[in-house]
Amino acid sequence: MKSFKRNKISLSLSLLAMSGHCLAANFDINQANLNNVDVNKYECKRCEKPDDYKGFVNVSSGYTDSDDIHAGNALGTSDKGAFGAVSSEFNYQGSTGYQASLTAHQLGMDNGFSRLSVGKSGLYTLDIDYSELKTNQAGDINIESYPSAINDQFDLALMRKKVGLSFDYGHDFYKVFTGYNIENKTGRQSSSLLAPTAINVGLPVDMVTQQWNAGMSLNGDNWLSEISYLGNSFHNNTDDLLEPNVGGVYAASPDSIAHHLSLSGQYNLGSTVVNGRFMTGRMIQDESLIEGFPLQNWEGEVNTLDGHLAVTSMVNNRLRVGGSAEYSKRNNESDIAAFNQYNLSTVTGKLRQNIPQDIERNTYKLNAAYRFANGYRLQAGYDLKEVERSSGDREQTNDDNMWVKLKLNVLDNLNIKLKAEHATRDGSKYEASELTSSEDNGLMRKYYLADRTRNGGEIQINHNPFEWLGIGLTTRYAKDEYDETLIGLTESEDYGYDLNMSVNFNSHVNGYGSVSQQWITSAQAGSESFSSPDWVDDIEDEFINIATGMSIGGLMQDKLTLGLDYQFSNSVSDTYVTTDALLKSQYGDYFSYNHSAKIYADYALSNQIALKMSYRYERYYDTDGAVIGVNEIPGLVTLGDINHNYNAHQVMLSFTYQLR
C-alpha cells in the first residue's frame, strides 16, 4: 500500500477536477486538497477502540451414518461413526502495528485447514498454512484376479496434505517476497493396465509436489514493476510396473521440474494505462526409462517464451478503448529416438519416433466501450488467436471472435445486459504432409482444429422490485457448427438459464432461491468402412440445479437462529446411435442426482458461549451403463460396481467459546 502522503494540490489539477467533462471523477487521496485541514486535531473520541485480541474456539463432535465413502465429499468425513473437530479464530492487534492471527477450520475432519499469520502492517507478513483435501470416488473395492500387491481391498480415494510458508517484506516503494509449499497426494486412483489383457486397477498414488516463488517489486508515483521466479517440482514415489512375461506394463508418471521467470510492469499516464509482461520458462523431465529397453535415458525439455502487452485508455468520460497483444511459444527440445513398438506406423511403415510438439500462439484483442447516455453502455470487441503447431494434423488455425455487449439501466432498480458473439475458425490445409498426416480417415477433422462457426448470445436481467428482494435471470445460447467436418464432431449446441432470488425481509430473516438448467446437444459422425460416414452419435446432456434456504434470527430474545438449506441437482447424459436411417439405439442410463439438506439451530447461552446443533442429509444416486461386473466381459477385468446409491446422515453438536 502507498503510504498516506500530504500533498499540496496544484491549481491546474483542481481546475481540471472542477471541469469534470474530459476525465472521469478521481477522488484519489493523493490528489486531495488539504489546505484547510489539520488532522493532528482529530481526537477520535467517539471511535471505538477494538480489543487488542479477540477470537473464538469451536469444538465440534458428531456422528456420521453412511455406508458409502462418497458421502464424505459432502459431509467432510468419509468414515462412518463418531468424529470430532476443532475450529478457531484468534486475532491480535498490537498498539504499534504488530498483528497476528490464527485461523483453523474443522481440524480433525477430512478437509480441515489452518493458517498462522504474523507481521507488522505495511512492513512484513509471515504466513504458515496447513490444509488437507480428500476426494472420495468409491469404497470397498475387492479384486482378486490380480497379484494382491496391486489389487486388494481398497478405497478409490485421494488425500492431499499441504504445508506452505510465505513471507513478504516491504515499505513504500519496494517489496520482496518468497514462498514455498509442499503437498503429498496419496491414495488409489482408477486406472487400467494391459497385462496382457485389460485389467482395471486401483493404482497406488504417492506423489509429492513442491512449489516455490520469490520476487521483488518496485513502484513509483505512476508505475509498478515486478520481477519474479516460480518453480514447481513433481516427484513420484511409485515405481514403474513390470511383469516377467509381458515386460514393462506401466510407466509411472515421471519426475519433472518447471521454472518460470517473469518481468512485468504497469505505467499509468492518467487516462491511459499500459501493462506488460515478459516471461521465460522451462520444463524438464529426465527420469530413467522403464527397465529392459535399449534406451535407458531420455531427456525431455520444453522451453516457453511469453509476452503480453495491454493498453486501455479513457479517451473521455464516455469512451474507453483498449487492446492487447500476446505471444506464447512452446518449444519442445526433447530427444527424438526410434523405439520398438508393438506395431509399425501404417503411414510411414517404419519404427515409430516420438514427435516433440512445438506450439506458437499469437493473440490480439481490441475493445471499445461507449456510454451513450446515463446508464446505457455499448461495448464491442474483436479477438484474433493464431496458433501454429510444428507437428499436428493442422499446422495453423486462426480463431476470429467478434462480440458486442449492451447494458441498459432501464430503471434505478432494473438493469438489462445483452451480449452477442460471432466466431469463426479456419486455418491451413488439413494433413498437409507425411509428417503431419495421421492414420485417420481422410475425412476426419479433429474438433479443436476443425473449421468452426460459433454464434451465441446472452441476456441478463437484474431487478430489485423492493429493497428487500433481488431477482436475477440470465439466459444464454451458443451453437458451434463444424461445416467442413464429415467425420468427427459436426455440431454442438449449448443453452440454459439461471434464475436467482434473494430475500432480506429484515436484519433477522433472509432467504434465497435459485434454479439453473442447461442443455448441451452434440452430434458426431463416424465410418466403419474407413470412407464416408455410416454412423452418427447424438449426445444430449441435461443438467438442473435447485437451491433454496432460509435463516431466521432474533428468536428467544435474540439468542436463537434457525436455518435451513436444501439443494437438488440432476446431471443426465443420453447417447443415441444411428447406424442407418432405420436403426437407432440408445445407451443405457447415465445420470446422477443428489438431494442435500441441512437444518441447524444456533443458540447463544451467554455473550461468550454458543451452542449449535445441525443435521445434514445427503441422498446420492448415480448410474453408468459402462459399469459392469468384474468378469462380465471376456478379456476385461473391471473394478465391479462402483456406482452409488446411498442415504447419509450426519448430526453435529458444536460448542463455541468467544474469547472476547
Binding site: G97, A258, G265, R320, R330, P356, N441, T474, S571
Partner: protein, 315 residues
C-alpha cells in the same frame, strides 16, 4: 369483505412505499453525472470537517454498519497506513462540506446502491491499493465490466467475505451464477463445499494470463495441482499439450472426470483409423470398447506416456 380488501391493499401499498424509501439517500434523485460533478467540486474545495471521525459519528454512531469499520483493518488507529490515521472517514467518503447541516449534501458512497461510477469509486481504493496484485486491473474484464472494488469487498465489517476462504466462493458466484450452478454437476472441482476456492485458479483483480488465471497459461494452472501430467512425456497426446480444456471443463461436467464428453464418443471425435477406433459402439456395457473404462481400458496413459513402447498411450 370489501373493507378487508381495501385495508389489505392499503397495507401492502404502505409496505411497498416504505420499503422502497427506507434506505434511500437524500440525493437519490440526482443523476450519476450530476452527483459526480457535485462530489468533484466538493473534493477540489477540500472542506474537511473540524474533528474528523468525531464529526461524522455525531450522527452516524448509532448505525451498526458504520461502527463496524473499527472491527476491521481500515478502522485501526495505530497503523500509519490506515485511513483512521489520517483523514479518517473523509479519506474514503470525501470532504464533509455542508453534509453535517441536515445530511442533504451528497457524500461519496460505495456498493451496488451507489450512483457513482465504478471508476470513481475505485479511484479512492487505488489511491492506497496500487501494487503488483492490481497490475493488470485496468485492462481486466472486471474493470472493463465496471465492477467496483466495493461490489466484492466489504470494509465496514470485522471480516471481508472476499478475503475469507469459506465465503469467497459466495462472493464470486453472486454474479457468476452459471459457475455456481456448475459446482453441483456430477463432477466438478470441490468448490461446492468450499474445499477449493475460485481464487485458487483465478485472479479477480486481473492477470496477464488467459481468463485471469493465476499461472502463465491454462496448463500451468492445472499443473500446479496436477503436476503428474506435466511431463514433458516421451509420447505426448497432442490435445493435452495444447490445452487441458480441449477435453475438460474445469467448472464441472455431467460426465465423470470433468470431461466434455465421455469415451468412446470423445475419443471418436478425433480418432478414426482403419481399425477398432472407428467402430461404432452400440451400447456401453457389451464389450471392452464400451464397458469398464471404454477406450481407456487399454489406452490408460491418456495424458501422455513415458514408456518407450507407449506410442499408443497404452503403457
Amino acid at each position: 369483505m370489501e373493507r378487508i380488501l381495501k385495508k389489505t391493499i392499503l397495507g401492502v401499498g404502505i409496505i411497498i412505499f416504505y420499503s422502497t424509501i427506507v434506505n434511500a439517500t437524500p440525493w437519490s434523485d440526482l443523476s450519476s453525472e450530476h452527483l459526480e460533478s457535485k462530489l468533484n467540486k466538493k473534493f477540489s474545495e477540500g472542506s474537511y470537517s473540524k474533528k474528523g471521525a468525531d464529526s461524522c459519528l455525531m450522527c452516524h454512531r448509532k448505525n451498526e454498519t458504520v461502527m463496524a469499520i473499527f472491527d476491521g483493518i481500515h478502522g485501526t488507529m495505530n497503523n500509519e497506513l490506515s485511513p483512521m490515521a489520517g483523514l479518517q472517514c473523509e479519506a474514503c467518503h470525501g470532504p464533509q462540506g455542508k453534509h453535517n447541516k441536515g445530511g442533504k449534501e451528497p457524500m461519496i458512497a460505495f456498493g451496488k446502491d451507489s450512483k457513482l461510477s465504478a471508476s470513481a469509486q475505485n479511484s479512492i481504493c487505488q489511491g492506497c491499493h496500487n501494487d503488483p496484485k492490481q497490475m493488470a486491473w485496468h485492462s481486466s474484464t472486471h474493470n472493463l465490466e465496471e465492477v467496483a472494488c466495493a461490489d466484492c469487498h466489504t470494509l465496514h465489517s470485522a471480516k471481508d467475505p472476499a478475503l475469507d476462504k469459506l465465503s469467497v466462493n459466495d462472493t464470486c458466484s453472486s454474479c457468476h451464477t452459471k459457475e455456481k450452478a456448475y459446482m453441483n454437476k456430477r463432477s466438478s472441482h470441490p468448490l461446492k463445499w468450499d474445499q477449493m476456492t475460485c481464487i485458487d485458479c483465478h485472479s479477480p483483480h486481473g492477470s496477464m494470463s488467459e481468463s485471469a488465471l493465476n499461472k502463465p497459461t491454462i496448463n500451468d494452472t492445472c499443473y500446479s495441482c496436477h503436476s503428474e501430467k506435466r511431463g514433458p512425456m516421451l509420447w505426448e497426446h497432442a490435445p493435452v499439450a495444447e490445452s487441458c480444456i480441449t477435453c475438460h471443463n474445469p467448472h464441472g461436467s455431467v460426465n465423470e472426470g470433468m470431461l466434455k464428453n465421455r469415451a468412446p464418443q470423445l475419443c471418436q471425435q478425433c480418432h478414426a483409423p482403419d481399425g477398432h477406433a472407428s467402430r461404432v459402439v452400440q451400447e456401453p456395457g457389451m464389450d471392452a470398447f464400451g464397458g469398464g473404462k471404454s477406450c481407456l481400458n487399454c489406452h490408460s496413459q491418456i495424458h501422455g506416456s513415458n514408456h518407450p513402447s507407449g506410442s499408443m498411450l497404452q503403457r
